[in-house]
Every structure is written in C-alpha cells, then in structure tokens.
C-alpha cells in the first residue's frame, strides 16, 4: 500500500553513505512487510538495494547469505552435493504463508528482522546454526547466533539503527542429516509449529523448535535420545509461557504438536521411520 508519510528515500551505495539514523527511519530491503501495513510513524526509507551485497557466497567455510538476499534466490541455490541439509531450504521456503510471488521480493534478512514465531527463515537459519553479523551505528560489528537473535514475538536484539548485514552458516551444519516437520491450522497456512532436527555422524541431535514458541529454542543431545528423554527435555526446557497464543494456534495445541513433531523427527533421524 502507499506509505503516504514517506517524504524521502535515500539509496546509499556503501556503508560510509548510510545516513545517520533518526526517528522515522526504516531500512527498506524487500519491503514486503513494510508496504503491507500502515506505517504512519515513518518519514524516510533507507533503501538497501544499491549496497549491492552479494546475495549468496559459497566457501569452504560454508554459506554466506546477505540479509538482502531474496527468498527466491536462496531457494534457487544450487547446493554442493555434500550439503545433506540442503532440502531444508526448499522445505522452509514452502513453509512461508506467502506465495512464490512474494519470495521474489521478500528477503532472508527481512524475515529474521520481522522476528515472527512462524518466520521460516528463522527456522532454517537457526537449525543450520547460522550466525548473524550486525552493523552497529558506531561502525562496529556484532556477531550473534540466529537462535539468540530473535528474543520474542516480533522482538529481536537489534537496537535502533542497527542493520543486519548477513548470516553465515558453517559448513559442518550443512553436512548434517535433517528432518523437517511443520503443521498449520490450514493446509498451506502459517506454521503453528515448525520443528527441524539435525544429526551428525555421531548420531547426536540438534532439535530446533519454532512456530509454536514466541522465539526459536534449541535442544542439543550428544547422543540420540529415546522418546521419553526427548519428551521430558521438551517439557522441562520449553516452559508453557513460551508457547505462542494467537489466531494461528492455541498454546495447548501448539505444545502438543511440538511434542508430537519432535518425536516424529527423533524417530526419523534414529532411522526408525522415514
């Protein structure tokens, strides 16, 4: 929709050209959320396009994803064969409530910065043990794990003027085996629970809980737990207060689905079921 209070759009090309942050400013990446709601408090957009960050960079360290990389570009990435975790990318893109048309515009970083419980890029990048790089207003940089970046429903660690620059995924995480489960109140709807499990060669388990909770949570097991251990861990590590409550799912259902999907993931990674 038209954002009628916007009086100026600045288009910096380098970090040095970023204007001083002031009240009424907003970063413009894809704009798919920004332009979807009234933003009467805003007067200036700082367009990140001309910074021309390389969207995706594969190295022997792993995968670097610019915050402005579009969801579609990530989805289209030709992953090296040894990246056994690659199917998660498509699975998480398809978990968007929005369609492929939005993926062309929406950005990976934008989804992180929205910090909604159902943000599937949060699910993906947390499960792949991604690390965010944040440009601070004082010129410094901050690195923080994706799982810690999101602190609550629509809340994250960013201070005014902070800019999410990129997310780095370590190669080891991309080489893990994965299992993905998602459920929503409607067939292709917004996630009520989205859980991802990854396992390494030592048959450990990293379980990432998103969608059902107000922020991503991770449970790490050095060896594959049995069903009771997993359930007990979830019950103790995920307090009821963290289960999200909105029109996309009641907390009791989200909790039950979390326990159920976690067990399905455990069973799949333990080789007990497909």
């Amino acid at each position: 929709m038209d954002l009628n209070t916007i009086t100026e759009v600045v288009r910096p090309r380098t970090r040095a050209e970023l204007p001083s942050w002031k009240a009424g400013d907003a970063w413009l990446a894809g704009g798919t959320w920004l332009f979807s709601e009234p933003q009467a408090q805003l007067s200036r957009l700082i367009d990140l396009s001309d910074l021309a960050w390389t969207p995706l960079a594969i190295s022997d360290q792993g995968l670097g994803i610019a915050a402005t990389c579009s969801v579609a570009a990530l989805d289209a990435l030709q992953c090296p064969a040894e990246w056994t975790a690659a199917p998660l990318i498509d699975q998480c893109c398809r978990a968007f409530l929005a369609s492929f048309k939005i993926w062309k515009t929406a950005t990976v970083g934008g989804n992180l910065c929205m910090s909604l419980p159902a943000g599937p890029m949060i699910s993906l990048l947390a499960a792949l043990e991604g690390v965010c790089t944040i440009w601070k207003t004082d010129g410094s940089e901050q690195r923080i794990a994706v799982v810690d970046f999101v602190t609550g429903n629509n809340r994250n660690v960013l201070a005014p003027g902070d800019l999410l620059r990129q997310i780095d995924i370590p190669l080891a995480a991309l080489k893990r085996r994965t299992a993905f489960r998602q459920i929503a109140l409607t067939p292709v709807g917004r996630s009520g629970a989205l859980l991802i499990g990854t396992a390494g060669r030592e048959a450990d388990l990293l379980l990432t809980v998103t969608g059902s909770t107000i922020k991503p949570l991770q449970l790490r097991f050095s060896t594959m737990p049995d069903a009771n251990t997993l359930r007990a861990s979830l019950l103790s590590d995920v307090p009821d207060a963290l289960y999200h409550d909105d029109v996309h799912g009641k907390p009791a259902w989200r909790k039950a689905m979390t326990l159920r999907l976690a067990e399905e993931i455990r069973a799949e990674l333990a080789g007990l079921r497909p």
Partner: protein, 904 residues
C-alpha cells in the same frame, strides 16, 4: 522515472512512499485491482520484467527502467493470451475482481507449478468460485455452449462481461478517472462506547489541500438504518450519518475531504477529538442482563427497537402445541447448544464509491452496492432531496454476499459532495472492511428436539441469542429468517421459538449469505442426526420421515401473516436421493493411517425464494433498429450471474440469441424500481420482470406483423429473429424499420407469491485424532433450483457457496477481544479458503420446474451455503463420536475434546 508499461513508455515521478499498484492505476491501468493492499490476495499481480509480483508491495520507484505487464497488456494484437481464453472457455470467474491477478499469475506458471497448484495459487484469493472453474481453466477445459436462437434458457452460456473481465477492462467501482476528484478519509472511534465532547478541526483544516472536515455537527439529524429493505420498518432507525455517540471501535467519527489521500490521512491524524468514555458491553448475554450499559439510550419503540433498556433490538416468541409435554413423552430427546462465530463477507472489492453533482445539480453516486434504488431512497430522505435529484448506480461490483445490501459509504459520500460541491471518492481499506462494515450475526442456538420410536419428530424448540453488534441493521429479519425455514422444513406438531437479537458494543452484524439460516441449521440438523442415532435410524431415512412435502403446511412459531409461500415445485426428496446415491458410490480414497477417523454426514436446507413483504422489480425492453433488443433492469451484477440469465430469458422468449440482447442495469437514472439484488432474487424476481417484459414485447411485435399482413396474430409465431406466418416472414430489423415508433414493453414483478428451494449437502471427512486436522474426502451437493437457467453458472454458484461456507466452518473468524477490538483485520490473520483448502464438490440437480419462477427457475445463490457447517458437524460426529458444537472446526479447537477422548 521511466517505466515501460504494456509496451508503452510511461514517464512519471512516483511519490516517495508510493507502491507500484497505485502508480499503475494513476496512469490509467485500472485492470490492477486492490483486494487487500497488503500482499495477501494477489488481485494486483503484474509482471515485473516478466516475473509475477504483488504490485501493492513493490515500491514504485523500483520499477524505474523496468517493464511492467498488467492484465491489459497480456493480450497481443492477434487476440487474447491463451490463459485469458482459457478463463473465458471455462468461465473461471464470477464477480471477476480477482480475475486479472489470477490470470496474470496463472499465465506465469511453469509446468512444475501447474502440477502443484496448492502452492502455486496460495497467493491468489477468489471469494466467488470455489476454484474448481479456475482449475478447469488451467486444465484447458471448456464449458461454454453455443445454442441457436430461442434456445438460450437452460444452457451454459457465457457471462456477457466475460471478454472485458479477462482483459481487465470490466469497469468496477473505482475504475474511472474523474478530474478534480477529492478524497475522503475517516476518523474512527478508538473506544467501544463514548460520547464525543468536542472536536477541534483547527490543525486539520490548516493543512494544505484539506477542503472540509465533517463531523456530527455537519450531519443531518435523521436516524435511519444502514440496512436496505423495501420496507423501512424492518430495521431500527438507530444510525446517523455521523453521530455524537460512538458505539463500537471503528465507528466513523469524522470525515476529512482533501486533494489527496495523503493529505486526508494526515488531517485525520491531526483532528483532536475528546471523548467521554461510557461503559461498554461486548458479550450479548451480558448485554441483555439487568444492569448492563444501555447502548441506545433515549431511543425506543418509535425507532423500532424492541426493548432499549435491555439492549434487545428484536425478538420473537411463539409456540405451537406443547413442546414440554412432547419432550417428556418422547422416545428420544436431544438438547444441545451451538455457537457460530463472526465471519466477514470478504468480497474482494471493498466498500466505497464516488459522488458528484452533475451539470443539472443531481447528486450522483457511483458505488459498490447491491441496492442502488434503495440507497437512492435513503439518500433522498436523509438529505431531504427529491428522488429525481439523486442518482445511484453501479457498473460491475466486485462481490457482495449480502455485505452490500447496506449503505456504509454513500451517506458520507453524499455529505462530502454536497458540502464541497466537488467530486469525491471514498474507498475503504481492507482493515476498515473488517472493523467497520458488517459481519454475519454470531448466534448461540439451543435446540431441543424429541421424536417417537418411529423417528417422527414430536418436539422442536429453538432458543436463539443473536449478536447484532452496535447497530441493528438486519437484526430482526435475520433473526426471524433464522427461526423460519430451519424448522418449517420439518413436520412436527409441537414447535417453540424464543429468539432475541441483542445490541453489543462491537462491529455491527448485517446481511450475510444465508441470512441466519446457516447458524440455526447447524443446530437443527445436528439434533435430527442425534435423534436418528439414538433410534438407530439412518440419517437419510430420518429426514424422509419428517420433511415437509407438497400439501404440508410450512410452519414456524409464532407464525406469520404471510401465506404467499407455495410449493411452486418440490425437489427435496430428489435431493436426498441424489446425495444418498452419490455418497454410496465408491470413490478413490487416500491411504490413511489409523490415526485418521472417517465418517459421513449430511444436512438439508430449505429457503423461501424471495424475502417477505415485497420485493419489486421493473424491466423494460425495446426493439432496436438493427433487430436486436435493449433490456433495462435494475438488478445489479456482482458475480451472481444474473446478467447472463436475464439475457437468456429475454432471448428465449423473443426467439433470438443472447448476443442480440444488450443489457443496461443497476442505475436509478434508467427509471423504474428494483428492490435490489439480495435475498436470492436476481433471477426469481427480477428475472420474472424480464420475462414479463419480453413476453409483452413479443406480443407487440407479433401483433405488428399480423396487422401488417392483415391476419389474426394467433397464427403468427416468433422464431429465429423474425415473426412468421406460413410463408410470410418479417425480420425483427424490418419490423423496427417499418414501425413509426420504437416498439418496447415493460414488465414488473412484485415478488409474490414465493416458492421454496432446497439443498442437501453430504461430506465424507477424515479427522486426525491427535492433531485435529480435518480432511474432506468427499463433498456432494444436490440442489433443487427448479429448471436450471444456466447449468454451468448454477454449478458455480453452488461450488462457490460450499467453498465460502467451508471457510466459515473450518477457518474463518473475526476475533474480538474483551475491549471490543477486532484482533485480526487482515487476510493473513483471517483465513479465506485458498485453492488448497477447497475440495471438489460434486454438484447434482433435482429435476423440477417451478410454477412461479421465470421459465421454471428458482433461486440458487444463498442456499448452497446453508447446509455446509451442519453436514460437516454431522460428519465429524460420525467419524469421532464427538458432537462438536462450535464453528470453526479448527484443529486447535477440536484438539481438546479429541485428546480427552483418544489421548495423546
């Protein structure tokens, strides 16, 4: 900036925060529609450098140097794009408002996406069709028939607007450019109940470009209802154009008229409104309890409010026989309380319109309405203008579903145009649509029912509490209708009704497809199944033993003075047989784990084909010089398909083809009267007027020819665009040229007597006992629509009704918090069924011919909606053994009872 739009260079500077959607519309590309303006519905889809995007989300400046293709640019000089042709061939649209975005999206899909339409189409919402016809278009299936002159009725002819709809050239409410247009934006109440103590306009008026700030001090004092009915007494007079008391969060407080929307919005923010907060009541049971805040204090019976002191706007009480005694002696009894939620029409075109004073000083309103004539009547009364000094019209309307049988914007538009003497525009946002127009009436229905050991109903009782919100538009008629056909369809010697519609400080409820029947049918049909289950009787058989049949009185207490509902035809028995047979046929079932429980359920519904107390339609038809005809009707087209049917009726009566009939419609300037396109009357009432006009003109034309031949007219017949008698033949064109004056005739229908139409829905469902997820394995609906005027279109109405009703049964709910605020006023939080959510429904027609309806046809637009939730509830009961009594049947709602029954 420079952008190539549909091959033409457009040089224009967008505003800094402007989106591509409005930029394209500002440059004349009206095919780009606004459904939500938030990226959820896809109606604004365009190709940006060949890739489909939602133009409402794209900053306009980013189109610089790029190529944009809108629906208008999809066709080439050689003709329609293949996808446009496919949508025409399959008639994959009803109102057509989503069609432009749908076609652009579909045209962009690759083969892999076409194989996964669940995902590919999740960004495109259609509220009308139920998506089957859209899928057919993608599959290249054609449904349109070609027929000879005089044979149009009963065949699947295409909608006359189709070519314009698929090209993006059909003109909806806002698809017109007007010089000097001013924009209206509304300040809305943040309080559920408050008195406005002062409004300071100074800062708002000081803004450049602001022409007027209108408040209750500027508004006429007359009280009226936004509901539009032929008889004004049906609704309470409880509403002002702008009031000094606000009764729900979202009620309009003031209107700003300015040069731009931006200026109007800014002025709204600068308006200083002081309120005295009044106590509010949100729950209807609380509202009618002693000591509740009085919402319409100072008003009373003179304003047609039943009991102001108890917040009761309308009520109905009556008993036939002795229900208590019958229940005491029944072999089986059932009692249950059923609740239905608040749902929104979600027509993709929001409410709104344009108004101006024409050169003759006539107040002219172009709006998105189902009721132009009744809106004209209201405006004339409120602003004390002669009826001929007010004109209301619509071209194509982007969906209605009852929501536009109201006057929500035309009053403000009129006030703004009269005050500023300038053309004005008001287009509601999707959020305003949710918080400040109307919804379905939420109801709490307690049903008590009893039957003897043979399954014959002995007692049927309804206790209904309806929540009408802050204003009583449609409160009474919906309540009475809810307690009418839902029980009058059953023979039962003892019936009782106690029904109340309560005011609350929430967004008003209003007319909605089904008009109360879906809510009560949900309870009544559950009770029938529960009795059948107790008695070991099959649900079909249980119904056969109790349904009314021709000759049976159709009774619902307290009874009414209306005795004009007749069995013009009767196909309920056929509908039951058709669904029973279809449900028994084996169909491919998916592999399901033991976690899934399956079951079948049915429900039936009856509907009077016309609302009570008069529904009037005039039609005129004239022979043109070219031998074709111009048909003028008042009824509006909003996807209901009546434009198609009216041409079919006229062409059939006049022995010609539909392309020879030019239709003019829905404009008070055409003269005559039309109560409106509501109550499923577009075919049954208005079509009857068209039939009468066409028959009168056929008679005139025949007599003209006979006079010329100096023979008796009885030997002449009309066929093949000519009158003939033996070897003599005079074409219509010849008759037109020979006649000194234009031959024309008019027809009228008073909407009485009325007939009854029937629908039976069957579902087979699977329910996951651990997740609550519901899958529909089979859906069948049989309809008794009399002689079906257009099978393709009627099937579409039924499929669309089932889909819309599945939305209400499975997903949709306007959630209101305990302060009265709508929590989820956007499509991403109010889930309309998308392609992936809607099963295919097998549609079957009873074979009947109605003695009252035009050429044997009956209504079929609201009623397919009505049995859906009830049938689904019965199927869930059969699958799980649990009687779920509240819709929507969302997984997280079903979950608790499933878990209690089946464990983790």
């Amino acid at each position: 900036m420079s952008v190539i739009v549909n091959g033409q260079a457009v040089e224009a500077a967008p505003r800094p925060g402007q989106c591509l959607r409005t930029f394209l519309r500002d440059t004349g590309h009206f095919g780009v529609k606004k459904g939500c303006d938030a990226g959820d519905c896809g109606a604004c889809t365009v190709l940006l450098d060949g890739e489909p995007v939602h133009s409402c989300l794209i900053p306009a400046f980013r189109a610089d140097g790029k190529a944009v293709t809108t629906i208008e640019g999809l066709a080439s000089e050689d003709g329609l794009h293949p996808m446009q042709q496919a949508f025409l061939d399959a008639q994959a649209f009803q109102c057509g408002f989503c069609t432009a975005g749908m076609i652009v999206t579909c045209a962009s899909l690759n083969q892999a996406q076409k194989k996964d339409l669940d995902a590919a189409l999740k960004g495109n919402l259609c509220r009308c069709t139920g998506y089957r016809a859209i899928e057919d278009a993608l599959l290249g299936m054609a449904h349109v028939e070609q027929v000879a002159a005089g044979e149009a009725f009963g065949h699947s002819l295409p909608a006359p607007a189709g070519p314009d709809v698929v090209r993006g050239q059909a003109r909806y409410t806002f698809d017109t450019a007007i010089d000097g247009l001013l924009h209206v934006k509304l300040v809305r109440s943040p309080h559920a109940h408050a008195r406005i103590t002062s409004i300071d306009k100074t800062a708002a008026l000081a803004l450049p470009g602001v022409h007027a700030v209108l408040t209750h001090e500027d508004a006429p004092g007359l009280l009226f209802s936004t509901a539009r009915h032929e008889q004004a007494w049906m609704d309470p007079a409880d509403t002002r154009v702008l009031d000094d008391v606000v009764r729900f969060i979202g009620q309009k407080v003031a209107a700003v008229v300015a040069e731009t929307e931006a200026a109007a919005e800014e002025a709204c923010r600068r308006l200083v409104v002081d309120y005295e907060i009044l106590p509010a009541v949100i729950d209807p049971a609380d509202a009618i309890a002693p000591g509740a805040p009085i919402i319409h204090a100072g008003r009373g019976s003179a304003h047609r409010i039943a009991d102001v002191s108890r917040n009761i706007v309308a009520e109905s009480h009556g008993e036939f026989g002795d229900v208590a005694a019958a229940l005491a002696s029944a072999a089986a009894t059932y009692e249950g309380t059923f609740t239905t939620q608040r749902v929104q029409h979600a027509a993709l075109e929001t409410h709104g319109g344009l108004a101006w004073l024409d050169d003759a000083g006539v107040l002219t309103v172009r709006s998105s309405t189902q009721v132009p004539f009744l809106t004209r009547r209201a405006l004339a009364e409120i602003f004390e203008l002669a009826p001929d000094k007010v004109r209301v019209f619509c071209e194509r309307v982007g969906g209605g579903f009852g929501g536009k049988q109201e006057m929500f914007v035309e009053d403000i538009l009129a006030l703004a145009a009269l005050k500023t003497r300038r053309p004005v525009k008001l287009e509601l946002t999707r959020e305003e649509q949710f918080i400040a127009t109307s919804t379905r009436h939420p109801m709490r229905v307690t049903v008590k029912a009893g039957a003897d050991k043979d399954g014959r109903l002995t007692a049927l009782q309804l206790d209904v509490l309806s929540n009408t919100g802050a204003y009583g538009n449609h409160a009474g008629p919906v309540l009475f209708h809810a307690c009418g056909e839902s029980i009058s369809v059953y023979n039962c010697p003892n019936k009782k009704v106690d029904a109340i519609a309560a005011y609350t400080n929430t967004v008003p409820a209003g007319a909605f497809r089904g008009y109360g029947l879906p809510q009560t049918t949900f309870a009544v049909e559950a009770a029938i199944d529960e009795l059948a289950s107790q008695l070991g009787i099959d649900p079909f058989e249980m119904r056969r033993r109790n349904i009314v049949r021709p000759g049976d009185p159709m009774l619902a207490p307290p009874g009414s003075e209306h005795s004009d509902v007749l069995y013009g035809s009767y196909g309920l028995d056929q509908c039951l047989d058709l669904v029973e047979r279809a449900m028994a046929e084996s169909t491919a079932a998916p592999e399901l784990s033991p976690e899934w429980l399956t079951g079948d359920g049915i429900a039936l519904t009856m509907i009077d084909t016309v609302p009570p107390d008069g529904h009037i339609a005039d039609a005129t038809i004239s022979l043109r010089d070219d031998g074709g005809f111009t048909l003028t009707v008042g009824t509006a087209e909003f996807g209901n398909g009546t434009s198609t049917v009216h041409r079919q009726i006229a062409a059939t009566v006049l022995g010609t083809t539909v392309d020879r009939i030019t239709l003019k419609q829905s404009d008070t300037a055409h003269g005559g009267h039309d109560t409106g396109a509501y109550g499923s009357t577009g075919t049954f009432v208005a079509g009857r007027a068209t039939q009468a006009a066409a028959e009168a003109l056929a008679d005139k034309i025949t007599r003209f020819a006979a006079d010329r031949w100096k023979i008796d007219a009885t030997g002449c017949r009309i066929a093949d665009e000519a009158v003939s008698c033996g070897a003599q033949r005079l074409s219509f064109a010849s008759i037109a040229s020979l006649s000194e004056e234009q031959l024309s005739a008019s027809g009228n229908s008073q909407g009485t007597p009325r007939s009854v139409a029937f629908n039976v829905q069957g579902f087979r469902v699977a329910v996951n006992k651990h997740t609550g997820v519901v899958r529909i394995l089979k859906s069948v609906q049989a309809a008794d629509a009399g002689r079906v005027a257009n099978p393709m279109q009627c099937r579409g109405q039924i499929e669309g009704g089932v889909a819309q009703s599945l939305g209400a049964a499975l997903y949709e709910e306007v959630v209101i918090d305990d302060t009265g605020r709508v929590v989820n006023p956007k499509f991403r939080d109010y889930h309309l069924p998308s392609y992936a959510d809607v099963p295919r429904t097998e549609v079957l027609f009873a074979e009947t011919t109605d003695a009252i309806g035009p050429l044997g046809a009956k209504s079929m637009s609201e009623s397919p909606y009505n049995p859906v939730a009830a049938a689904l509830g019965n199927a869930l009961r059969a699958a799980t053994g649990i009687r779920f009594t509240a819709v929507p049947f969302k997984p997280d709602r079903l979950f608790q009872q499933l878990q209690e029954t089946f464990g983790d």
